[in-house]
């Protein structure tokens, strides 16, 4: 460990320090506001350190397990900023709740630390450690509003499924290790394929089992069954976290792993991933049509959206890696915005997840409704929103590599998706009930966060060039 190694780890260490700090702070004074402030400052510092990192040390392998390259910096940046926004969103949400609130932020920080490690890992060990840090924190976060029954139910489901998927993942890693003799991605990538048939089978089985484990985390069909229940049961900010940070970290890893292993030598894997992607897009979008709960709709929509991003994964190459990063960034902005609206409208006893909560919102609080509409249109991929840029780049990447099947699936399924996004918009436009109670007042922080997300959405939608440029430069390190 040299000084430079330490420098490269500063962003992660800052998060760990803040987590410790928050826990210690609770021992002395339990004050929600202070805790949030400390959390935000810690995360903010970590983000600043991250932003400065590429100027100080570039593409540094820190110990055999972590690779702090520009790619890691990019994804860590996306994940940390997302966590920052979620921390800010949580403040008003938990302010309405009873019971202790401060532990949540410690969990949030640790989960983010885990996500950061996953995004930077180049070794099975760090991958698994990071993943478990993330998951274990998430179990508690999902169950955080423990007076609500569905919250507990969701946490248990998540625990069971995540534990099972971790087992799959570990067994897969073991098989791959048995054949390759290494747990480093680069070593595994060097593996020649001219091994005996039996050994190759073991290796492929290992990869397959890992795909199962990863598929669970990314909630791709057929490993998606936990998603709607967890989305519905978890407190809204945690739902946002599950939808963004936990999936983003996993995708970053998937992309890195397969960028080093030349996937085109394994047609069976390509076939498998294409199948998963296509089925996810259709399942997610079709099942979303049948839902009557906004959180469940967003859950199925996220299944579809992760299917979309698999197009970039399949396409592989520079354009594809850029497209994936930009798509995820814009998808995060959008999801945070949508979840932020749900958070803002949620009350003490339940989250605002039924259609009734949104009926006539356009006339009660036009600003919130306008933001929510913009977010939904972004999910639907309408121009001038970030979502369109993301989808556009995915299509571009897909066409570049001629993965026509996935592209066709993307186009058709995102047209299907329009139905349910428009349904929510329609409900907001409903003029039928004028007598119902006026909308709940929205706090200043929430308004601020939502407005920032709205501006970010439009900015990325109208001037995407800076974001694309940054992503393009930073992803270069894994190619």
């Amino acid at each position: 460990m040299t000084i430079m190694d330490m420098v490269a780890l500063v962003p992660l260490m800052l998060l760990a320090l803040t987590a410790t700090g928050v826990v210690l702070l609770m021992a002395f004074c339990r004050c929600h506001r202070t805790t949030v402030l400390v959390t935000l400052i810690g995360m903010g510092l970590s983000i600043v350190a991250l932003a400065l990192l590429p100027f100080v040390c570039v593409n540094r392998q820190v110990t055999p397990v972590l690779m702090i390259d520009t790619y890691a910096v990019l994804y860590m940046g996306i994940l940390f900023v997302t966590s920052f926004v979620i921390a800010a969103m949580s403040y008003t949400y938990f302010e309405k709740q009873e019971g202790r609130k401060e532990e949540f932020y410690a969990l949030l920080l640790m989960a983010t630390l885990g996500a950061g490690v996953v995004a930077a890992s180049c070794h099975f060990v760090s991958f698994f450690m990071g993943l478990e840090t993330l998951s274990v924190s998430l179990y508690a976060m999902v169950a955080y509003t423990r007076k609500r029954q569905d919250s507990i139910e969701a946490a248990f489901k998540y625990l069971m499924v995540a534990a099972a998927s971790a087992a799959f993942l570990l067994f897969g890693m073991a098989l791959v290790y048995a054949e390759s003799g290494s747990m480093e991605f680069t070593q595994i990538a060097k593996l020649r394929l001219d091994m005996p048939q039996g050994n190759l089978l073991v290796l492929l089985a290992g990869c397959g089992l890992m795909v199962v484990g990863i598929g669970f985390k990314l909630a791709l069909v057929p490993f998606h069954l936990w998603t709607p229940d967890v989305y519905e049961g978890a407190p809204a900010p945690v739902t946002a976290y599950v939808a963004t940070v936990s999936k983003g970290a996993m995708f970053a890893l998937l992309m890195r792993y397969f960028a080093q292993v030349d996937m085109h030598q394994y047609p069976s894997l390509i076939f498998l991933f294409t199948l998963i992607a296509v089925v996810s897009m259709f399942f997610g979008n079709l099942l979303a049509l049948l839902q009557n709960n906004i959180k469940r709709i967003l859950a199925y929509s996220s299944i579809g959206n992760l299917g979309y991003v698999m197009v970039a994964f399949l396409a592989s190459g520079k354009i594809a890696a850029t497209a994936a990063a930009v798509f995820l960034a814009s998808y995060f902005i959008t999801t945070l915005g949508a979840m932020g609206i749900i958070t803002a409208l949620s009350g003490k006893d339940r989250d605002a997840d039924s259609f009734e909560d949104y009926r006539g919102l356009f006339w009660k609080s036009p600003w919130l409704a306008a933001i929510f509409t913009a977010m939904l249109l972004s999910l639907a991929g309408i121009p001038l929103t970030a979502g369109f840029i993301g989808k556009f780049l995915l299509l571009e990447a897909g066409e570049e590599s001629s993965v026509w099947i996935s592209i066709a699936a993307l186009v058709i399924s995102s047209s299907i998706g329009l139905f349910y996004y428009l349904r929510i918009v329609l409900t907001m436009c409903d003029m039928s009930d004028k007598e119902s109670a006026p909308a709940k007042p929205v706090s200043l922080t929430e308004n601020l966060v939502l407005s920032c997300l709205f501006i970010a959405l439009l900015f990325v939608g109208i001037f995407p060039a800076p974001l694309i440029h940054v992503a393009e430069t930073l992803v270069a390190s894994i190619l």
Partner: protein
């Protein structure tokens, strides 16, 4: 910069209107009206002030152009440009914009601010579509006009609005995505072939394509435009959307949104994929004729007055499609003329239906009757627009349809013959409206008050415009002519040479063409006022870019008739 202003003014006005709607219901109306009047004034100044003809003298293909970098890394620019066709379409947009604000003055009573926000944004999107010369930008505007229109239908529409709005949205969005795929495919093929990755129209013109690629990419564009047009198998959304939209929505849908499809065909489909479009032309013409007949027949079968007008739109737009794929000067000029006149005429009919509905709260034609006695002015107005719709000579629609038929005759005699039946059917349904609603026994108890001054003024403006277009179409034809000639030249050049047409020789072509045909053109028709455009003229003229005809010297009767009409673009080539 004026071009940016034209698109931006409605956007800003929309935001202002939304904000002002909280304070007074009248403020958004005045703001929108002012914005549209300003836009129209700017555009008319451009037209009248001969921006056009000065630029022509300079020889560039565009009358006005703005090209700013937007996402240079991806080859995307903020490229707006205007030629004669765009200018005409923009003027139509601003004019119908004023009318749509006018016709919702009393109809829209709830959420006035948000209504005008959507109205202004849809107009802005439409104007953007007519100006965008970067395919990415074009797609953005294409989608931008969709969302506000969806809101217009869904919030202020009639009984079945939700179904109609979603259907409209899904149809256009899905076909739009196909177009996006086609755009990307074109982008990559061009990039791989030349090393220049760009979405710019001028750059992409003349991309070397294999015939299979060209066919598929062309289809991607064609489907998107055919849905908007609408051509028959994909027309399904139109009757619902038109019927359920509020009056202003219907006016904009019929008057402008449909035109974006036709505009796209002229601007993109044929020039970008000449050979594929030529091969596809028989199918397109068949679809056009199918639309003409099918729309007219179904129109007659409707009991809902608004639906009747909606189906008549399908029929009229069939002529536009026919004219475009005939791909000769007459056909194209006819298509442009028909676009304008259909926009005005059908817009007027929708406003009329809106006025009736505001009075008797139904659109069911079965329970109407005898309005003429109660509302003679309304009757006269209706009679006028019904006549326009059936193509009475002397009104604009006649010129459009006649030119289209003249043009398409040279491409296909059979389809032209069948298409002319559409005119006969047109008279049936047009007269049917008058017969059922205004004559006959008065079996509706409700009192029908006559048109108010505001309504009269709007209808009067439309009538003047249609009569003017019918009597003296030369200014319009003359404005469209250089643009029509230029696109034809581009296509011809590509078909002949098979080489890439760069913007440079694109320009040269325009100049050469203008220089060669300037004198006869001016002498022939443009200097002659009104009726004399239908004069006997012994000069023979050949139709340029006429790829579909077998032989230009064939002495058929219609050609002789064509010769006797000294029509623009023909020039004197003999």
């Amino acid at each position: 910069m004026m071009l940016i202003a034209v698109v931006l003014i409605p956007m800003i006005a929309g935001l202002l209107a939304w904000a002002a709607g909280k304070h007074s219901p009248n403020a958004p109306r005045w703001i929108s009206l002012a914005a549209m009047v300003i836009d129209l004034t700017i555009l008319l100044t451009m037209w009248n002030g001969r921006v056009a003809f000065e630029a022509l003298a300079g020889g560039g293909p565009w009358l006005m152009e703005v090209n700013l970098p937007w996402m240079p890394g991806l080859g995307i620019g903020f490229h707006l440009a205007m030629d004669g066709i765009s200018l005409l379409m923009l003027i139509l947009s601003a004019f119908l914009g004023i009318l749509s604000v006018g016709c919702s003055w009393t109809e829209i009573k709830e959420k006035v601010g948000f209504f005008h926000f959507n109205l202004m944004w849809v107009l802005s999107g439409i104007m953007g579509v007519f100006l965008a010369m970067d395919l990415f930008l074009f797609y953005c505007f294409w989608e931008l006009m969709l969302v506000p229109m969806y809101f217009l239908i869904v919030i202020w529409g009639h009984e079945n609005r939700i179904y109609a709005a979603i259907k409209f949205f899904i149809f256009t969005q899905f076909s739009g995505l196909l177009m996006l795929l086609a755009i990307l495919a074109l982008y990559f093929i061009h990039g791989h072939a030349t090393g220049v990755y760009s979405f710019d129209y001028a750059v992409l013109l003349g991309t070397p394509l294999t015939s299979t690629a060209a066919k598929w990419i062309m289809l991607g564009f064609f489907i998107a435009f055919a849905v908007k047009l609408p051509a028959v198998p994909v027309h399904n959304w139109l009757p619902d959307a038109h019927t359920e939209a509020p009056t202003a929505g219907s006016v904009i849908l019929a008057g402008l949104l449909l035109k974006t499809g036709a505009y796209g065909l002229i601007r993109f489909v044929v020039p970008l994929f000449p050979q594929a479009a030529m091969d596809f032309a028989p199918v397109a013409m068949f679809l056009a004729v199918l639309g003409i007949i099918y729309g007219a027949v179904l129109s007659f079968a409707q009991t809902d007055l608004k639906r009747l007008v909606a189906y008549s739109s399908i029929s009229h737009m069939g002529f536009v499609l026919l004219g475009i794929f005939a791909w000769n000067t007459l056909g194209l000029q006819g298509a442009v003329m028909q676009m304008i006149c259909h926009g005005l005429g059908t817009g007027a009919l929708f406003m009329l239906v809106g006025a009736i509905q505001e009075r008797i709260h139904t659109r069911n034609i079965e329970i109407m009757g005898g309005f003429w006695t109660a509302a003679p002015r309304m009757g006269a107005v209706a009679m006028f627009f019904a006549m326009a719709s059936l193509g009475l000579p002397g009104l604009g629609n006649f010129i459009g349809e006649f030119l289209v038929l003249l043009g398409s005759y040279r491409a296909s005699v059979m389809w032209t013959a069948i298409a002319s039946l559409g005119l006969v059917l047109g008279s049936i349904y047009s007269l049917w409206i008058i017969q059922k609603a205004f004559f006959g026994p008065k079996d509706n108890e409700a009192h029908v008050s006559d048109l108010a001054k505001r309504e009269l003024a709007m209808f009067a403006a439309l009538m003047v415009a249609l009569v003017w277009l019918g009597m003296y179409p030369a200014p319009v034809l003359r404005t469209a002519d250089p643009a029509v000639t230029t696109v034809q030249q581009v296509v011809e050049k590509q078909l002949q040479g098979g080489t890439k047409v760069t913007m440079g020789n694109f320009t040269d072509l325009g100049q050469e063409e203008i220089a060669s045909s300037k004198t006869p053109r001016n002498d022939n028709i443009y200097s002659f006022p009104s009726f004399t455009w239908v004069r006997t003229c012994t000069q023979s003229f050949t139709l340029k870019g006429d790829k579909f005809s077998t032989s230009a010297s064939e002495p058929d009767p219609v050609l002789r008739l064509g010769r006797s009409l000294a029509l623009p673009g023909g020039g004197d080539k003999s």
